[in-house]
């Protein structure tokens, strides 16, 4: 079966006066139809840049410097801007962190919904309004007939994010990219939005790329998870394996540093140091200066993703170290 989205050896660069910064360095992953892929990592890991690269919205002078992005087997990273615009919103829906910035404050939400629907489908104005109403009902907005003519500021944060979900799903996309969809919300509302996102995407058969820093949200929602560090994928695998038996030392540290709701612990696991800046990404494995288990090859040779148990991991602890390469 063709994956909905296939990212192959993607590389994103930002040329600056002080040299070229590599924000995304050779990452590859697939998302199958109906699958939810979680992308986790700390600030600066390159999660959001990956999302914006896929939808072709990287701010110049940043650009895709290598690799390709395939949507249902056809390349979309080299399309002209107006063709890409037809794909965004139609075949790829997007949900961003702050619902107030992704809605236009000057338009009624009904107008924003019908605009999206009429742009991407051949429904007439009144049919589009009907469709907008049914979408608002579907995302759980009470009394949609009255709320459809309200402005974004008249909604609460959770309700606004529901409207954004309705917008993202308006044209029945094959892929939804959700970038920190619940980070700005309170925990009780967060649970509602996550449940809604999951249910809607399952109903519409859409694949989801869920970008977040919150491991809890991933654990509940994703089928597979990719852990990013310094622009690369450190580990990718089924969510249960990655959370219960993480392989990469970074994933282990990350999981240990989350306070638990059920276990008592005096101290949290602590990863020394912090995420490297793009201007100073260490050589070899980018995690080696912070890694408790770094050894001979790590500072010099870059580990590639290799299958290990049910996952894939980029770490020399699991890959036979090429002795010939070391001798060079």
């Amino acid at each position: 079966m063709t994956p909905v989205l296939s990212v192959q050896n993607l590389r994103v660069e930002f040329p600056t006066r002080r040299g070229v910064l590599t924000a995304i360095d050779d990452i590859s992953f697939d998302i199958a139809p109906g699958e939810v892929l979680g992308v986790v990592g700390e600030s600066g890991a390159g999660k959001s840049i990956t999302g914006t690269a896929i939808i072709g919205l990287i701010e110049p002078p940043g650009h895709i410097a290598g690799g390709q992005v395939l949507l249902r087997g056809s390349r979309i990273d080299n399309l002209p801007p107006d063709e890409m615009r037809r794909i965004r919103g139609k075949r790829i829906g997007m949900v961003f962190q702050d619902p107030l910035t992704s809605l236009n404050p000057l338009y009624r939400i009904g107008d924003q919904l019908t605009e999206t629907i009429t742009t991407h489908t051949n429904l007439s104005g009144s049919q589009a309004r009907q469709k907008a109403l049914s979408l608002l009902t579907e995302v759980g907005i009470p009394a949609p007939e009255q709320r459809i003519d309200n402005y974004p500021h008249q909604f609460s944060g959770g309700m606004r994010q529901r409207v954004v979900l309705a917008l993202a799903l308006a044209a029945e996309p094959e892929l939804v990219i959700a970038d920190e969809p619940t980070t700005a919300l309170d925990v009780s509302v967060q649970a509602q939005i996550i449940a809604l996102l999951k249910r809607l995407c399952a109903q519409h058969g859409a694949a989801v790329m869920l970008i977040t820093h919150d491991m809890g949200v991933i654990a509940e929602t994703a089928d597979r998870v990719a852990v990013m560090y310094a622009g690369r994928i450190a580990e990718i695998g089924p969510v249960r394996d990655v959370i219960k038996q993480p392989l990469h030392p970074y994933t282990k540290g990350l999981m240990g540093s989350i306070p638990s709701l059920t276990h008592d612990s005096d101290r949290l696991v602590q990863i020394p140091g912090s995420m490297p800046r793009l201007t100073a990404i260490p050589s070899g494995c980018p995690f080696h200066p912070r890694c408790p288990r770094a050894f001979t090859p790590c500072p010099t040779f870059r580990p590639e993703l290799a299958p290990e148990q049910n996952s894939q991991v980029a770490c020399w602890l699991y890959t036979p170290f090429p002795v010939a390469a070391a001798a060079e």
Binding site: E220, L254, R267
Partner: protein
């Protein structure tokens, strides 16, 4: 001046808490300007940010306040340190009231012993000051160290204490990462050997691995200097890790106070249960998260009776009319008619 503060001896007065908050309340006037009110015939609009909040914090204890946005956590924190004046009730720290006029001179002496750490380390440090000046400010303000060499020495000690290099002192805040800035904020708070530190969401702006570093640091400092913390957070897992006792706030009211373990093992108030149910499950036990209906109501126009009744699964007639009073339920204190009547 030695860095190791004479730890307040808990053994001398074990029964007397360091901080007592009694019936604390705060009402904000959010009306339009007077002229608009007169010409448009609008009434005054009052927002009750906190009402009848009562709790105490023992020495060397960590008391946490949790709740969603708008529940009044930060308002209570600001009243405790005296940044805003309460409308009703009072805060008594070590026998000194934070609002009584006649205790002004005692209060001035008390101020040195209370410090605060804020949520956003990008906003709480002056971008035009070097780190060492930021940390030295309380030393100068309270006249703890006068000579330049004394100050420099003390700042160096403090930087080392929070895990930074004393040579970093000459840098400006923008040269540090978020976690390092929060360390500077902690160093500043520790500069004058405080006993009581109010931490308002100290790790919410940080990544999890950095959060772990800061939480570990705060615990180490507490053990070393015998600090008392009032810890404000919306993150239940962080609160469970840090606190001895927890207070849950909803729409300006403290709905449940209980020891940390007890609260997580046997939550009493329906809102506490709801909050615990809503937390994502990292242990993959297959526990189903129960999304709660509804959102926090507008605090300008709160529901009558128990403020939680529109979202409460066990609400009944009495909840809609009568504000529940705090009652003891085991080791916990709860404001809930259903708990009082033994229905849940």
């Amino acid at each position: 001046m030695s860095l190791v503060a004479p730890a307040p001896s808990a053994a001398v007065e074990p029964a007397k808490p360091l901080v007592e908050v009694k019936g604390l309340g705060r009402v904000f006037d959010v009306s339009k300007p007077w002229l608009n009110r007169v010409t448009e015939g609008l009434p005054r609009r009052l927002l009750t940010a906190a009402a009848d909040v009562t709790f105490s914090i023992g020495r060397r204890e960590t008391f946490a306040l949790v709740g969603e946005s708008g529940s009044g956590k930060s308002t209570v924190a600001k009243m405790v340190v005296g940044l805003i004046a309460p409308t009703t009730g009072e805060v008594i720290i070590d026998g000194v009231s934070m609002s009584a006029r006649r205790q002004e001179s005692e209060r001035r002496r008390l101020r040195r012993r209370i410090q605060m750490i804020f949520q956003d380390p990008y906003a709480s440090l002056n971008p035009r000051w070097r780190a060492l000046d930021i940390i030295a400010e309380p030393l100068r303000a309270f006249g703890i160290a006068q000579s330049t060499t004394q100050i420099a020495q003390r700042v160096g000690e403090l930087l080392r204490l929070v895990g930074l290099d004393p040579a970093d002192g000459t840098k400006y805040p923008h040269e540090f990462s978020g976690g390092q800035r929060q360390r500077i904020a902690i160093a500043r708070a520790l500069a004058c050997n405080p006993e009581f530190i109010v931490c308002d969401e100290p790790t919410s702006a940080l990544d999890v691995s950095v959060q772990a570093q800061i939480l570990n640091l705060m615990r180490d400092l507490q053990d070393r200097f015998g600090l008392t913390y009032l810890f404000i957070s919306h993150n239940l897992a962080v609160v469970r890790h840090m606190a001895n006792r927890i207070g849950v706030m909803y729409l300006g009211r403290l709905v449940e106070v209980a020891p940390a373990r007890e609260m997580f093992a046997r939550p009493k108030h329906p809102y506490t249960r709801m909050l615990l149910d809503a937390v994502p499950d990292l242990d993959l036990t297959g526990r189903k998260r129960k999304p709660v209906e509804g959102e926090v109501p507008n605090p300008i126009d709160p529901p009558p009776g128990c403020p939680f009744h529109p979202r409460c699964p066990s609400a009944f007639e009495r909840c809609r009319v009568e504000v529940p009073l705090p009652i003891a339920a085991g080791v916990a204190t709860v404001r809930c008619h259903a708990v009082e009547e033994g229905r849940i």
